[in-house]
Structure formats: C-alpha cells, structure tokens
Amino acid sequence: MKKQDARLSAAQLYRSVDLKQYDFETTADLEMLQEVIGQPRAVQAIRFGIDMSQPGYNIFALGPTGLDKRKLVQQFFTEQAAQQPTPPDWCYVHNFDHPHKPRTIELPAGKGEDFRNDMEDLVEELRTALSAAFESEEYQTRRQTIEQEFRERQAEAFNELQQRAQEEGIALIRTPSGIAIAPVKDGEVLSPEEIQKLSEEEQTHIQEEITTLQEDMQKIIRQVPSWQHKMREKLNELNHEMADFAVGGLMDELCEKYEDFPDVIEHLDAVQKDVVENADQFLSSEDGSDQTMQAITQRMGGPPALQRYVVNVLVDNTETEGAAVIYEDNPTYQNLVGRVEHRAQMGALLTDFTLIKAGALHRANGGYLILDARKVLMQPYAWEGLKRALRAQEIHIESLAQIYSLISTISLDPEPIPLKVKVALLGERLLYYLLWQLDPDFAELFKVAVDFNEEMARDTESQRLYAQLLVTLIRKEELLHFDRGAVARVIEHSARMVGDAEKLSTRMQNVTDLLRESDHWARQEESDVVTARNVQQAIDAQIYRADRLRERMQEAIQRETILIDTTGAVIGQINGLAVLQVGDFAFARPSRITARVTLGKGQVVDIEREVELSGPLHSKGVLILSGFLKGRYAQDQPLSLSASLVFEQSYGGVDGDSASSAELYALLSAIADVEIKQSLAVTGSVNQRGQVQAIGGVNEKIEGFFDVCAARGLTGEQGVLIPASNVKYLMLRRDVVEAVEKDQFHVYAVETIDQGIELLTGIPAGQQDADGNYPEGSLNALVAQRLKMMAEKRQSFSEATKEESPT
C-alpha cells in the first residue's frame, strides 16, 4: 500500500459542527427541549414498566452514573402520577381486643386528618360529658342510694345483733384485730369476779348467748363481701348506664359522619364500648398520683388511658395531588418499611400504636418509589425487606430487633397495609446482572430492565436537538447563554467524551459540568455570553487538573528515563501505545516494544506473560500473532524460531490486544532483519489472517505520541499507524489537527499487516504468487527466506545430534 493512500487528511481527524446549520446567535434564541433524546430504548422500557400494572413489573434502570437515570425515571413517573387518583390516607388505631396488633383504617385522602381531629375532639367532649354525667345530681343521688343501701343492710344486720346483745346485757366491742362479744354493765365489761357472782344458770346463759351472737356475727361478716359485690355490680351498672347515655349522643354524630366507612364504624363501636367500660379514666384528676398510676398501668401493657382513642395518621395525602412519587435517599430497612418507636418510662421501653412511623413504601403506596440499588443493597436487611413487601404486596412493619433477638420481648405487630407501588431501582449494569444471576427473586420482581445508552447517534437533526438540550441545562442551571461557537464546541467535545466522531455523549452530568465550568470562565472575564474559547478553557482546565501523571510520564520520556525513539530506525524495535485510565482521565503511554529471534521450536515467548504481568487478553493477542506467523510462513516447514517479545521498561500489568500488531511488526522486523522507523508509533490488534482490527482510546494514543514528538520538535516524518476501522472515532486535539494540516505529523489508517509493514519499513510487503512464493526483496520474502534458513539449520542440528547419540 502506498504511504499516501493510507495517510489521513486533517478533515478526517476531527468532525466539526457545521455552524451553518444553526440559525441562532446565542442559546437565548432557542427553546428548551421538551422531549427526551438519545434514550429510545430506555424511554420505551419505562413507559412499558409504568403501563404494566401486574405485580413483578418493577423497573431496574441500568447504566453508569451521569446519565440522569433518576431524572428521567422521575419525570415519567411524575407525568403518569399526575393523571392517577390520589392514594388514600392510612391510619393506625388501637385494637381493643388485641392491643399489640394495632388495626389499620383506610380513608380517602385528607380524611385521615379529619378523623384524627374528630377523635381528639371526641375525647375532650367525652371528658366534659362524662364529668357532667358523673357529677350530676341524678348520678350522685343514685350512687349514694346504692351505697346507702349497702350501709343500711350492713347496719341493720349489726344493729339487730347489737339489739339482741343489749337485751341480754352483752355488747359488741371493737378490738384492734376484730370484734369481740362480752357481757357489760353500765358500759363496762364485767370482770371475772363479777361473773363469778352470777348464778351458774346466768353464767351458762351468758356464755350460750355469746356463742350464739358470735356465730350470728360471723354469718353477718361472711355476707358482707357478697353485699359489697352486689353493690359494686349495681354501681357498675349505674356507671355503664350513665356513660352510655353520655357517650351515645356524641358517638351517633360521628357514626353518621363516617357511615360510608365500615372500618371506622367498627372502630367507633369498639371505642364506645371501651369508654363505657373505663369511664372513670375520663374523670381522673391531673395530680401526680394519677400520672404515676397511668405510668404503672402503661408499663403493664397498653397505651396511656386516653391515648387509646387517638388516631395515628400514618400516611396523610391531604396535600398530595395525584399519585405520590417518592425518592428515598437513605433506604435503610426502617426508612423503607417503617418502624415502631419506643419511649423510655420508669426505666422500661414502652411503645404503642401512636409510635408507628411510616416508611418510604407507605408514602409511595399507590404511586411510585425510586431507590438507588447500591444504597439498598448496602443497608442491612433493606433488600430483603423491600422484596418481602413486593412479594407479599403488603407492608408489614416488623422490628428487626425482635426478629433477630434471642429473647422475645413484647412489641407491636401492626396490621399489614396492602401495597401497590411501582418501584424503580437505579444502578450500574454490573449490579443488575449480578442480581439477575445470583438472586432468584430479582428476576421475578424486577422484570423491566431500562437500559440507558451512554451515547447517541450524531447527525444534523440530533445535533440540533442536542443544542436545545444544552439550552434546557443552561436555563435550569441559570448559566450565561452560550453563543453558537460555544454550543458547537460543547457538541464536539461531547463526541470526544465518547471517543467517537459519529456519536454524542448522553452522560448529561459530564455535559452539565462542562457547561457550568465554561460559564465560570466566561464570568471570570466578565463576559455576558459564553464563547467557544471559554468552553476550551474549561476543557483545558479539566485536563490540567487531571493530568499530573501524564505530565510526569512525558517528562520521564523527555529526560530519557523512559526510552522512546522518535527518529531513526531499529531492527526488531517499535513504538507501541497503551492507554492508562486514572479516575475519569485517560492518556496514552508510549512504550518501546522489542522482539528478538533465535533458533528454536516455534515458540513466541511473551515475556510479560512469563512474569505474570500479562493479562489474558494480551496473552491472547500474542498467541494470535504467532498463529498468523505459522499460518503464513510455516505451511511447508516447521517454524524453527524462538522469539521473545517484551514491553521495555514496563513494570506494571499489561492487558488488551491493541498492541498485537505492533508486536507482530517488531517480530517481522527481527526475523527479516529489516529496520523499523522509530518516527512512527503503532496501535491496532491483529487477527490470524493479518487483518488489523479496531482498538480503544485511539485519540489518546495519537495525542500521546504526538506530545512526545512535539516536545522534541516535529520532524515532518513522525506519525501514528491506526486501524482503518478506527478512523470514524477520531476527534483529535486542535494542535494535532493543525500539525497534520501543516504536514508536520501524520496519521495512517491501515487495514492489513502488509500495509503497515510497508509504512514502517519502506519495503513492499509482497503478495504471494500461485507457487506460494513472494517477490524477491519483498519483506515477506525476506521473512520466508530467514525462516527457511532457520528451519534448515535446525534440521542439520537435529541430524547431527542423532548421529552423535545413535541410541
């Protein structure tokens, strides 16, 4: 191939934006972009995921950071949510039958707050109504009547006993520990002497009477508890009657208001029953003793007395319009599923239904929830909790401490709330595939993959839309407006960001950063408009902030600490090009690749591989080139060489096969004993048929070698060989393009090894004829001749060895 044919023109090295396609002066003249560009697959997937209402069609938005995945997903969710009905409010109320299992009540949006307020008002009104009822004259009179009845019954019994005793000259006397019956005279107990003075008959009569009276007193005393019980029953009935009356009217009003909500009615019935049973709690004073009693009661289980009737509005959608779209930035288990809080009282941790707190799933119920996948996975139990809720289609608040503790403590088991939510996880691709592979639940619950593109096609139409997209970002960030040139420069740099002249980057975060920084530089100059120069300033500044290592490497090359030739020619030595990625910045590292050949059995030794500094792809590249050698030159004779290849002065790992063509050139040079021009560098992978294949980082590689040559002074002979299939990726720096324009530097696109070797050696490669021979003096002929010679030598050595040892 002729050198001239392979050489690229300056126009082929950088695809500019044609400013004629833009009819605006600055972005102030442009409308913002209303549609989404560059993500047709993702958009369709999101719409599909939203439309699929069946369980399991949750979304995983996959792609690297900077693609604005969250923004896009949120935008679609918000648009859809606005057309959906507002989800209901959810409340927790006390379960009077099972206090540790609070019940849920679903109410239309906004009604939850009403219900809570109504119940609070009810409690206050009940206080007043019950106080009035129990302080009323009717109640007091009836109560006193009941108590009086008991007293009278008791008094009557004792009076009758006393009367009988008195008639016999006997009295009932209270002792410190009971009641004694003894004979008295004038109010004093008879002494033994006085008893002795009585007749035998009188003494016996007295004793018999005392015994009878004692037995009768015992009977009376035994009856007292029963009378007390009956009195208490009557008092209870009276209390119930009064409470029922006081409560009934108030409850009827509420029941009428909530007649369309059976759960509320059921709860109100339970409240009424409980109020009637515990009416005395509404009459408690506010002194310390009652508070102490309340605390003790609470410690034994259950919320404080009047707290039982309040309503915990867990989810309040009063202010919500349409369905909710929630992004949970800290997706811990509790933040997702909700939690039951505790409070410390009298040295113990207590809880009740009022301390149940909503999680993100509650807030998003009926709508949409967006989560960062990595964050969810990093939080203990959060992933399992989320899956459990999605599988069961309900939110069941369980305390992790209770689940995983060794001792079961009393806690709450709130009634689960039905869940209907669309979840979108955002994460990297690797995460998605790992989950898909390793978690069997994942594929069932997240059926919709929203795969984001990192780049989009670049054409006139897409560039126009891209400009509008920039306008949207500029306005959102409140930046200065960009002129046409600045817009064009940003678009061109967007192509450079993806390393492809035919594509534009969709990593909007990076683009936004560039816009912000360009704005900064413009403002530094007190300019009103951002120009292309400001954009370049921003790009240069970004590079400068990141390229300390590149600068050091270039310095090492210039100082010849790292040996790289850029002039002359050497047998078996070539300039290869590798790319290093440091953070977000990539740069080229020119490397000297050398090859040595000796007589051998056909092995091509990759020294990097021998010392385990070669990655598998690099090793594969070396094996491929040795396959090429054998395929081309060892059809009629065995390959009788031993070759070694090495990246000189490389002390770190090497991987990838982008240098395999360079290694092959070096090897051919060493075999043919022909010099390779050191003014050229090579990048490109080779296959077994000698075709040069595309590689990555082509722009960085060309610029890397250019920088070495430029630092030493361009000679006009220097350049880089790249695969022809990489031409469409070229978006080179301005200085490189200018050097090419001035014929001071060159970029060659090659398709085959033969093309490349011609450029590197200046000797035609030579085509094989029908007899399998190469033209005399061609490089292939030189290689073939050398290999034939080596084969013959090896043959003679081996025969000589056999002669020397006949056995």
């Binding site: 009932l172 002792t175 410190p176 004694a180 019956i181 107990v189 008879l190 008893i195 005393i221």
Partner: protein, 283 residues
C-alpha cells in the same frame, strides 16, 4: 381561756386519738389550730379498759372483721396490739406537731375512753375528736366518743370532724341571737384572724320579723372584729331544714352553739349525724 373584750384566746387544746382515719383528721385540725393560736397541744390515746378485760373472760372470742375466724382473746396479744397502736399514733402525732412547731405532749392512759377524755378536756379550751372511731360497728355515723363530747359540759369548744375534711374557710356560724350565738361569732372572728373574706351567718329566726333584728345584732358583733358578714335567714327552723341550709352554704367549717332554743335537747345530734363538714360546738 380568756375573753378579752370580744377577742377569743385559746391556750390549750386536747385531741383524742385512736388511730382511726377520723382521729387523724382531728389531729391535723388540732395541730393547725394550735399553731394558729400558739396553744399547747395534748394528744391523748386511751387504751380501752374494756378491751383488756376481754382477755380475762375465758368464754369470750374475737371474730376477725374480714377473716370471720373466731379466736380466743389473749391478754398478751391485746397488750401487744395496744402497744403497737400507741407507737403508730405517737409517731404521727410527733411528726405533725413538730412540723408546725407546736408545743406538744403525748399521753397514754388506760381506762374508759369517754371518762379519760372528759377528764383531760376539763383542763382544756378546746377538745377535738373524730366523728367516729373504730367502734363504728353499727354503721352509725356519729361515734360514742363524739356523742359523749357533744353531751358534756366542758370544754367551751369542741370540734368534731371526719376523715377527708379540715377546718377552713368559709366559716358558717349559726346565730340565734343568744349569748352562745354571740360567742360563736367571737370564736369565728378569732379563727379568721389572718384570713380574708366574710363570715357566713345563718340566722335562726322564728319569724320574718326577727330576721332584721338578728342580722343587725350579728353585723354589729362582727363589725367589732372588723369582719364582714354574709347573711341568710331560716325562718322555719327545724333540724332537717337547718341541715339542708348548711349544705347549701357550701362552707368549710360550721360553728354552732351547743344549745339552741329552737331545738329540743338532743335534736342537734341528728344534725351532727347528717352534716359532713367539721363542726365546732360552742358552749
């Protein structure tokens, strides 16, 4: 006791104690009154001789108030119980009296309760007793000690109160125009000393005609003490009506002459049964 013009002075107070809730209410009232007047306070506990005698009669049995078990009355047990009760009462007495920095004496005697109390009260200006003690077997609201205190002639002032009440304002004086009625006004004025507010006066008149005269007399008596009065008349005076009138006044302390011309001798006992507020009987 001294009567200086119309000023009333109290120097010695006796309070009867038996560890019942009513007697503790009496104790608190006694301590406060002693502090108010700077008087000496005697706390008296009488070990009822009748209880000790029970142990001497072998055929007497004691029945538990709650357990209903019947057991022999042993003198050692009785003695022990009485000692325990003494200790309890004494501690309570000393504690309350010391808090109010009252000059105090605690005495234990053994004998008939009414007799011992009468004897101690003879030397005192005021006797304070609980409305009922432990002897309230029959359910009657007024105990034997309180009944006896009502019936006795000394001292000049006897206070009867029940558990849950305390001497306080407003004071209600029952005034019938008699010298005792005037004394009752003087006592009320003395109790008011540093307090503010009118004294409520219930005028017992046997007709509308007498009301204005009674009121004028009462007002003049109170005026001498620089105290205002609030007046209400009862023209048909019987005990039930009087009891209702007293309840309607919503007062904290009732001061009433022990003999009222309009009522029969023991008619006021029924009043003492009915009324719940502390009663100060004036002789």
């Amino acid at each position: 006791m001294n009567t200086q013009g119309q000023r009333y002075n109290i120097r010695r107070i006796v309070v009867a104690l038996d560890a019942s809730p009513h007697s503790y209410a009496a104790l608190e009232a006694a301590v406060r009154m002693a502090a108010h007047f700077g008087a000496e306070l005697l706390g008296l506990y009488v070990e009822d001789i009748n209880i000790l005698r029970l142990a001497e009669l072998p055929f007497v049995r004691e029945v538990g108030s709650f357990s209903t078990t019947s057991r022999r009355v042993e003198s050692q047990d009785i003695e022990r119980q009485l000692r325990l009760r003494t200790l309890t009462i004494q501690r309570k007495f000393i504690s309350l009296a010391t808090q109010q920095q009252v000059q105090q004496t605690f005495r234990v005697t053994r004998g008939t309760v009414v007799t011992e109390i009468r004897e101690a009260a003879a030397e005192a200006d005021v006797l304070i007793v609980g409305k009922a003690g432990w002897s309230k077997i029959s359910g009657r609201r007024l105990g034997s000690t309180a009944r006896a205190a009502y019936s006795d002639d000394t001292p000049d002032l006897t206070v009867i109160l029940q558990d849950g009440t305390r001497l306080g304002t407003p004071l209600l004086v029952v005034y019938d125009g008699s010298p005792l009625g005037q004394k009752a006004l003087d006592v009320a004025a003395a109790l008011m000393q540093t307090r503010t507010g009118p004294i409520h006066v219930l005028l017992l008149a046997d007709g509308q005609m007498r009301v204005s005269g009674l009121q004028a007399a009462a007002a003049a008596r109170l005026q001498a003490h620089d105290i205002a009065g609030r007046y209400r008349a009862l023209t048909e005076s019987n005990v039930p009506k009087l009891a209702r009138a007293i309840q309607c006044e919503d007062s904290a302390t009732l001061i009433i002459p022990v003999r009222i011309a309009l009522f029969q001798e023991d008619a006021l006992l029924d009043l003492l049964e009915e009324v719940d507020v502390p009663i100060l009987l004036v002789r």
